[in-house]
């Protein structure tokens, strides 16, 4: 243990200094970058991906960030994420409020994807499940307040399937109807057209992840 190593040939110290120190320093630096810079993209909420995207964790690895889906999108709905997306840098995202997915029948984005990050087995647009629309603020929704808005319902490409209007008596006025838009999760493809169309400055209907995230009492 405490004995001095005789200096014959290359000592362990010389070896470490000469051959291994540089690569090890590099790997440490790399690890630092990984832990600080690369946060999982979905740690800060749900990211809307193009149609056919496989589960988010696998998608982040399977997507090679070539941008072909974005180049294939005729509406430029698909954007390439920047550095703010962390690990998701360079991956395709859809920001419905800017440009939702208009559900092309031939799904050019899916056909453009080389790596399988967008699942080529998906051919029927009604089977797309990018996310699901949720009315997050019922108190602000004009239709639920009794006005004849219903814009999200009329804009929905799956009108009367993914969003239906449910009529009920307006107790507040006593003589009118409330026509409430109701999202049916089993039909909704998550295209975001409703979110785009909502007439309020802050949309009350937004696309969220398919899996309900369990929240504790500290979450708002």
């Amino acid at each position: 243990m405490g004995d001095e190593t005789p200096h014959t040939g290359m000592s362990r110290r010389q070896f470490l200094k000469g051959s291994a120190a540089t690569p090890l320093a590099l790997m440490l630096a790399g690890g630092g970058v990984v832990s600080v810079y690369l946060r999982p993209a979905d740690a800060r909420g749900f990211t809307l991906r193009p149609p056919g995207a496989i589960a988010e964790k696998r998608f982040l690895a399977a997507c090679v960030r070539c941008g072909k889906c974005a180049q294939a999108c005729p509406y430029q709905s698909i954007r390439m994420a920047g550095g703010e997306a962390g690990v998701g840098i360079g991956t395709p995202v859809i920001i419905p409020r800017e440009m939702p997915c208009y559900l092309c029948q031939d799904l050019p984005c899916v056909r453009a994807c080389p790596s399988g990050a967008l699942d080529k087995k998906l051919e029927d647009v009604e089977k797309v499940r990018m996310g699901t629309a949720v009315i997050i603020d019922r108190e602000s929704c004009l239709s639920i307040r009794g006005l004849r808005c219903e814009v999200c319902y009329r804009q929905c490409p799956l009108i009367d399937k993914a969003i239906t209007l449910e009529a009920r008596h307006n107790i507040r006025t006593g003589e009118h109807s409330i026509l409430e838009p109701v999202v049916h999760k089993e039909k909704c493809v998550g295209c975001g057209i409703c979110e785009k169309s909502c007439v309020l400055p802050k949309p009350v209907i937004v696309v969220q992840g398919l899996v309900e995230i369990q929240k504790d009492s500290y979450d708002f």
Binding site: C63, R65, C66, I89
Partner: protein
């Protein structure tokens, strides 16, 4: 000047940049970038990007495997690291910056790029994070050209800063995992720089221009007839500058 290899090489580098930018001008001959692309209807794919998608995403698309193999075979024949000198836009940028602005004096060992490749493969296997697709300055530059995604160019700026102040061509020589991948492939490539010992005047011009002197020096000193190291990027600058025509490029099965 006995030859002008730099001319087709620069043309190839600039064509790559032009192709990546071409969809912006409504042209349909090229789609994608160097990770995966369609060129005149032929699907091409970066083999390292394929490996990361396969390991991390556990997705195997046969057509994608085919395009990755096609690219691998092409680079195998041409000498793997020819990608670095002839195609890669980051190589073009750091090369031009080095020529115009000078560079730091230190050099880092070439073997580090293989460690870097190992780090990328281990990371994607353990965490599912495709480290090189995330941090790759090649992808960052390509998306800056095709999608005007400019902020991530800070990564490229950092690389240039280190190269200019500390270590010459350190990214391409020693850090790029894709370079490390292609250098492994290039060890077995048939197309190599050959050396005709009898003609050499030992002027040293070739070593001055070579970005990887470590692989050019041994043949010159020992009189070996060809450059065998996988890190030779087939830039052919040594052939261009040799006044005695002692260096040539050719296929060899030795």
């Amino acid at each position: 000047m006995t030859s002008r290899w730099w001319l087709p090489r620069r043309a190839a580098q600039l064509s790559t940049v032009a192709l990546i930018a071409s969809p912006l001008f409504g042209l349909s001959l090229f789609r994608g970038n160097l990770a995966a692309a369609d060129l005149l209807g032929i699907a091409l794919a970066d083999p390292l990007a394929f490996l990361q998608a396969l390991i991390g995403g556990r997705v195997l698309v046969l057509s994608y495997l085919g395009s990755a193999l096609l690219v691998t075979v092409c680079y195998f024949v041409l000498g793997g690291r020819s990608f670095c000198s002839w195609i890669c836009p980051v190589g073009l940028i750091t090369e031009m910056a080095g020529l115009r602005l000078g560079s730091g004096g230190k050099t880092m060992p070439l073997s580090a790029s293989r460690w870097s490749l190992g780090l990328v493969l281990v990371t994607v296997a353990l965490t599912g994070i495709p480290l090189f697709e995330v941090l790759s300055p090649i992808g960052i530059v390509s998306r800056a050209i095709a999608f005007a995604s400019l902020l991530p160019l800070l990564v490229l700026a950092a690389i240039l800063l280190v190269e200019l102040s500390l270590s010459r061509r350190v990214w391409c020589r020693s850090l790029c995992p894709l370079g490390g991948f292609y250098s492994l492939l290039a060890r077995f490539s048939p197309l190599r720089v050959g050396f005709i010992k009898e003609r050499c005047t030992h002027c040293g011009d070739c070593l001055q221009v070579c970005p990887v002197q470590e692989v050019l020096a041994p043949p010159l000193e020992q009189g070996v007839p060809q450059v065998t190291g996988g890190d030779c990027s087939r830039c052919l600058a040594c052939i261009d500058c040799c006044p005695a025509k002692a260096l040539k490029i050719g296929f060899s099965n030795k």
